[in-house]
């Protein structure tokens, strides 16, 4: 019982950490945020800025209870070529329980100084999660819907320490962004082989020119697109058999008041996939965060 209460507190902490920061004041710095939830483009966080993001995923589950998984991201632009990010994950399985499911620490490194026809970014992530993690931030290997049907008390007994790498390729042309991510993951807890996955996305703002007045409903503030992601098997059984795949519409609304809202209804493309995933997110950018903390730590003024 004490353990369950502890886990609940962890989940509440995930939500609270995000919301407290999201609601606090900060200087204006609206970014043109991407609408993708799974796919990454090649744009990094502006140097010195902290972006706090909260996301939810509602998923249907055959052979088990539907779930609501959520995570908070703290994304920091260390330099113009390096972004580092910490995630805290949690989930509620309806008719079961609410639990904290782990953390992730990711780093993205821009490989080329200037823009090119295709722009590569190297992504490296360490994650320590339980088997009850359901945020589906990426799909890899032979991840299938049935993996998520176990009750929380059983699923959280599994502990995963994963090293995940991605090659992010992206290009923006005439307002369109096209991004492709190749995923390779190694679970360090046992003899699990390297697993592979992919994510692709395309998006475009509704308007390419900015209007002269500050406005919330201007067309250039809305970005629409689609993303598709799924597993590609593992080292010993590479390919599509026994893998799950999803197709999702994505939309972002960049508000001039520093907020970005995202919505993404997604659908499973085969019998191994959850039938429906509804994702939404809210984020806010805190510019000058690094300089403020640096001053606080006694750095140069």
């Amino acid at each position: 019982m004490r353990q369950v209460l502890g886990m609940c507190r962890g989940a509440v902490a995930v939500l609270a950490a995000g919301w407290i920061l999201l609601m606090s004041g900060a200087p204006r710095a609206q970014a043109q945020e991407s609408p993708y939830i799974v796919t990454y483009d090649h744009y990094l966080e502006e140097p010195g800025s902290l972006e706090v993001e909260y996301y939810s995923t509602f998923g249907t589950q055959r052979g088990g209870n539907d779930f609501h998984a959520y995570w908070t991201e703290f994304e920091y632009g260390a330099t113009a070529w390096w972004t580092t990010e910490v995630y805290l994950d949690g989930q509620t399985t309806f008719g079961d329980s609410t639990i904290f499911t782990g953390f992730r620490w990711e780093n993205r490194f821009r490989l080329l100084a200037r823009e090119h026809f295709i722009n590569p970014v190297l992504y490296v992530e360490y994650e320590q999660t339980s088997g009850a993690d359901k945020i589906l931030k990426e799909v890899e290997g032979h991840d299938v819907e049935a993996d998520y049907a176990a009750p929380n008390w059983l699923a959280r007994k599994e502990h995963d320490h994963e090293l995940e790498s991605k090659l992010l390729l992206s290009k923006t042309f005439k307002g369109w962004n096209v991004a492709e991510n190749t995923i390779a993951t190694k679970n360090m807890t046992g003899g699990i082989p390297w697993e592979f996955g992919y994510a692709i996305g395309a998006s475009r703002p509704l308007g390419l020119k900015a209007s002269a007045k500050r406005c919330s409903l201007c067309v250039e503030n809305f970005i629409l697109g689609a993303e598709m992601y799924g597993g590609l098997g593992d080292r010993y059984s590479f390919g599509l058999p026994n893998t799950s795949h999803y197709l999702a519409a994505v939309a972002a609304w960049n508000l001039p008041s520093d907020w970005t809202l995202r919505l993404s209804p997604g659908f499973g493309l085969n019998d191994n996939s959850h039938r429906f995933l509804l994702r939404w997110g809210v984020s806010r950018e805190f510019s000058g965060f690094g300089a403020a903390v640096g001053r606080w730590l006694g750095g140069r003024r």
Partner: protein
């Protein structure tokens, strides 16, 4: 569990290093003196890029829209009046004001990643041209000293 603790320690160390980087020795250099090397990147624009003409130069709303975009994306580092700040140089400096619109567009698109300026190709092309229109509309600093904060 040990791996987790180790990851936490490394993450914390990296975050602290990152915060140090964010104060960045490079951008601060631009604010302390009128250092021409800050503007050297402008000379690296390919001729073809520099020759590009601003398609919005006759758009009556381009400067106002560019001003809005500047406030949203650029003022944090370059200062509200583009006079330069601790993190980025003045855009009223002669080097910038005498640069061709195509050169400024090229610089916005590619950023100066090693010196802390991100790439801005995430803004659609018309918005980058609107920013160029605004920057070119600024009153140039009469001498380098005036381009400092």
């Amino acid at each position: 569990m040990r791996a987790g603790k180790l990851a936490c320690i490394v993450a914390f160390a990296v975050l602290i290093c990152g915060l140090g980087q964010a104060q960045g020795p490079m951008p601060a250099k631009g604010a302390s003196v009128h250092d021409r090397s800050i503007y050297e990147e402008l000379t690296k624009a390919p001729k073809k890029a520099a020759r590009r003409i601003n398609p919005l130069q006759r758009d009556p709303e381009a400067v106002a829209a560019g001003a809005k975009l500047f406030d949203l994306h650029c003022a944090e580092c370059h200062g509200e009046l583009a006079e330069g700040g601790k993190k980025a140089p003045s855009l009223r400096a002669p080097e910038v004001q005498q640069a061709a619109p195509g050169t400024l567009f090229w610089l916005l698109t590619n950023g100066v990643v090693r010196r802390g300026m991100p790439v801005w190709s995430k803004l659609p092309e018309p918005q980058r041209w609107q920013l160029v229109s605004y920057i070119k509309s600024l009153t140039p600093a009469e001498n380098p000293a005036q381009s400092q904060p």
